[in-house]
C-alpha cells in the first residue's frame, strides 16, 4: 500500500536520497534501519511531505494508489494524521507541556472527524485504553510531566491512531525509553498493527529492535537502500557488506547464555565514519569503508533480487551467514 519508486531528494544541487524501490504491504511492518547520516529521517520527511523549503524531490511515493508527491500542501495535510499517523522519538518534546493530556488527544480527534463534545471525550478514553494506559479517565486532566516516559509515548501513539490511519510511521519511538518499557511499547505497536490491519514503518538504528517488531527490513546507507527483504532472512543471511558489518558491530546478547564466550571479545568495526552529505564516493557509496571492495565498485552496483525477494545493491556480496 506504500510504493516508493525512484525517489530522489536533492538539497542545493546535491542528491542526498535515491531510493529506487521500496514497498510496504498493507498491514505489514517494515523496518528502516540506518545510522546518523544515512538519510532515514529525510526519507520519512519525504514520505510525510515535511521536507524543508528548497529541497528538490522527484519520483513517486504511491500511497493507496495516489502519488503523495503530486499533492498540494493542503491535500497533504489532510492525509497526514488522517491516513498516516506519526510517532516520534522523544515524547517529552512532542507533547505540549502546557496542555492537558485529554486536550491534546482530543485535538487529534477533532481535526480529522466530525465528532463533538462528549463523543470526543469518550473516544479519547477509548483510545487511551487501547494503548493500555490504566484508568484513562483519570489521565485526561493530567499534564505530560506528570506521566512517565513510557506513558507519554503511549499518549503519543493514541493521538497518532486517533483517526484510524492505514499507515503508522514511528521514528525511533523507543530510543529514549528504558529497556523494560521499550519491550512493552514495541509489543503495543505490534498488537495495534495486527488488530487494526495498520501498516507500520518503523525507523531505527537498532537492528535488534527492528527484528523484534518488523516482518521486513530495508537497510539505508548514504541515501540508498542497500539491502531489503524479510527481516529474518536479512539478519541471518546478510548480503550487502554494510549490513553484515552493521550486524558484526552490534553488541547483541550471547546465544544460549554463553556469556563466557562473550567476555572481552572485541567487536568488528567499520573503518572510517559516515561521510558528510555530498562527500560520498562515486559508484558504491560504501566502497571507501568496505573490506571487500573490488574494482567494479567504482560504478554504481545494480539492484539484484533473489528468489526470496531479498534485494541488495552490491558487486561483491557476502555469501551465507554474517561474516
Amino acid at each position: 500500500m506504500l510504493e516508493i519508486r525512484d525517489l530522489r531528494v536533492s538539497i542545493e544541487g546535491r542528491e542526498i536520497i535515491h531510493i529506487e524501490h521500496l514497498d510496504l504491504q498493507s498491514g505489514s511492518r517494515l523496518g528502516l534501519v540506518g545510522e546518523s547520516g544515512s538519510g532515514k529521517t529525510m526519507t520519512v520527511k519525504a514520505i510525510a511531505g515535511l521536507l524543508p523549503d528548497g529541497t528538490k524531490i522527484s519520483g513517486s511515493v504511491k500511497f493507496d494508489g495516489k502519488d503523495l508527491l503530486t499533492l498540494s500542501d493542503r491535500e497533504f495535510a489532510k492525509v497526514r494524521g488522517n491516513k498516516i499517523g506519526f510517532v516520534f522519538q522523544d515524547p517529552a518534546r512532542s507533547l505540549n507541556p502546557m496542555m492537558r493530556i485529554g486536550k491534546q488527544v482530543s485535538e487529534a480527534i477533532r481535526i480529522h472527524s466530525d465528532l463533538k463534545g462528549s463523543a470526543v471525550t469518550e473516544k479519547v478514553i477509548d483510545l487511551l485504553g487501547q494503548v493500555q494506559l490504566p484508568d484513562p479517565a483519570s489521565l485526561l486532566r493530567r499534564y505530560p510531566h506528570q506521566l512517565s516516559g513510557g506513558q507519554q509515548q503511549r499518549v503519543m501513539i493514541a493521538a497518532a491512531i486517533a483517526a484510524d490511519p492505514d499507515l503508522l510511521i514511528a521514528d525511533e519511538p523507543t530510543t529514549a525509553l528504558d529497556v523494560t518499557v521499550q519491550e512493552e511499547i514495541l509489543r503495543l505497536l505490534i498488537s495495534l498493527s495486527e488488530k487494526r490491519n495498520m501498516s507500520l514503518l518503523f525507523v531505527s538504528h537498532d537492528l535488534g529492535v527492528i527484528r523484534f517488531v518488523c516482518d521486513s527490513v530495508a537497510v539505508i546507507y548514504g541515501g540508498n537502500i542497500v539491502e531489503s527483504g524479510l527481516v529474518e532472512e536479512v539478519v541471518t543471511n546478510p548480503l550487502h557488506r554494510y549490513t553484515s558489518a552493521l550486524l558484526a558491530a552490534n553488541p547483541g546478547m550471547p546465544k544460549d547464555n554463553n556469556f563466557s564466550a562473550f567476555m572481552g571479545k572485541r567487536l568488528q568495526t567499520i573503518t572510517g565514519s559516515v561521510p558528510a552529505v555530498g562527500k560520498f564516493p562515486s559508484g558504491c557509496r560504501f566502497r571507501n569503508r568496505c573490506q571487500f571492495v573490488t574494482d567494479e565498485c567504482s560504478s554504481v552496483p545494480p539492484a539484484v533480487t533473489t528468489e526470496s525477494d531479498h534485494q541488495y545493491l552490491c558487486w561483491n556480496p557476502s555469501s551465507g551467514g554474517a561474516s
Binding site: H205, V209, A249, G252, M253, F262, K265
Partner: protein
C-alpha cells in the same frame, strides 16, 4: 587485602530532596560494594535507579550523607587540599554525551590540557598531548579544532584521552557509548577494552545495555530505585539471575537484541 574502592552502607540524597511529610527522598540507599583493582565492573539499571549518582559518590564528586566510601583504605570524605587533588588524579570520569562534556569554546588541545593544568599545576608539553591524542586513535590535526567540528565518536575519544591524561587508577564511565551510532559504539568499546588492558585500568562502567556489559565487564551490579538488587560475576548473574527484576531486565533486553555468537 583492601579493595581499591569500598562502599559500606552508604546513603545519599540530593540537597533539599524531601517529599511530602518531611521525609528525605534518598537517591541511594544502603549501598555496599567492593571494587578490586584492575577489575571491570558494570552497573546496570533503568532510569531512576541511581546508577549515575552512585559513581559520582564513589569518586567523591558528590558527598554522601551516611555510610563510608573508601579509596585505597582511606575515607574519601576526609580528603582535603593536596589529598583531594590526588583523589581526583586517581579517579576520572568519562561522560555520556560527548558534545556536552567539552567546553565548546575551547580547542581540543586546550581541553586535553586542562586536567594536567589543574591537577599538576603545569602545562603539558607537546609530546604529552600528542601521545594522548594518538593513544585514542585520533590524529594531531584535531588538536586545533573546536568540538563542533568533530563527530560524536571523535569527541568521545577526546573525552577518554582527557580522562587518561592524568594517568588515573580508576576510570568511571557513565554510559560512554549510549549517544553513539552502533558502528561508532563498537570502535569506542574496542578502544576502551584495549586501553584498559594496556594501562591496567580499573573500569567501572554504567550502562543500560546488557549486551555491552556482557562484553566488557566481568562483574555486574544491578540497581533499582537506589538500591543494589543483585551483584556478582556477570556470567553467573545473567545466566542465573536470583532477582525477578534482573530476570525481567534480561528478558526485555533479549527481546530487542540480536542473539548471536560472540563473533560475527
Amino acid at each position: 587485602m583492601t579493595s581499591l574502592v569500598e562502599v559500606s552502607n552508604m546513603f545519599f540524597h540530593y540537597p533539599r530532596a524531601r517529599v511530602k511529610g518531611g521525609e528525605i527522598n534518598w537517591t541511594l540507599q544502603d549501598i555496599s560494594l567492593k571494587i578490586e583493582a584492575k577489575s571491570t565492573v558494570g552497573i546496570v539499571g533503568e532510569s531512576g535507579s541511581g546508577k549515575s549518582t552512585l559513581i559520582r559518590v564513589m569518586c567523591a564528586l558528590l558527598h554522601h550523607q551516611q555510610g563510608t566510601v573508601t579509596f585505597n583504605g582511606q575515607d574519601v570524605s576526609q580528603f582535603q587540599g593536596d589529598k583531594a587533588n590526588e583523589l581526583r588524579r586517581e579517579n576520572q570520569i568519562v561522560f555520556q554525551n560527548p558534545r556536552r562534556s567539552l567546553d565548546p569554546r575551547m580547542t581540543i588541545r586546550r581541553s586535553l590540557s586542562e586536567p594536567i593544568r589543574a591537577l599538576h599545576d603545569r602545562n603539558p608539553d607537546d609530546a604529552e598531548i600528542i601521545a594522548n591524542i594518538e593513544r585514542v586513535g585520533l590524529g594531531t590535526e584535531v588538536l586545533s579544532r573546536f568540538p563542533h567540528q568533530l563527530s560524536g565518536g571523535q569527541l568521545q575519544r577526546v573525552g577518554i584521552a582527557r580522562s587518561l591524561s592524568v594517568k588515573p587508577t580508576i576510570l568511571y564511565a557513565d554510559e560512554p557509548v549510549s549517544a553513539l551510532d552502533v558502528s561508532v559504539q563498537a570502535q569506542v568499546l574496542n578502544l576502551m577494552m584495549d586501553l584498559r588492558d594496556e594501562l591496567g585500568l580499573t573500569l567501572v562502567m554504567v550502562s543500560h545495555d546488557l549486551g555491552v556489559v556482557s562484553r566488557m565487564c566481568e562483574q555486574i551490579i544491578v540497581m533499582r530505585h537506589g538500591r543494589i538488587v543483585e551483584a556478582g560475576l556477570t556470567e553467573s548473574v545473567l545466566s542465573n539471575p536470583q532477582s525477578d527484576y534482573t530476570a525481567a531486565l534480561l528478558k526485555a533486553a533479549r527481546a530487542a537484541s540480536l542473539e548471536r555468537e560472540s563473533q560475527g
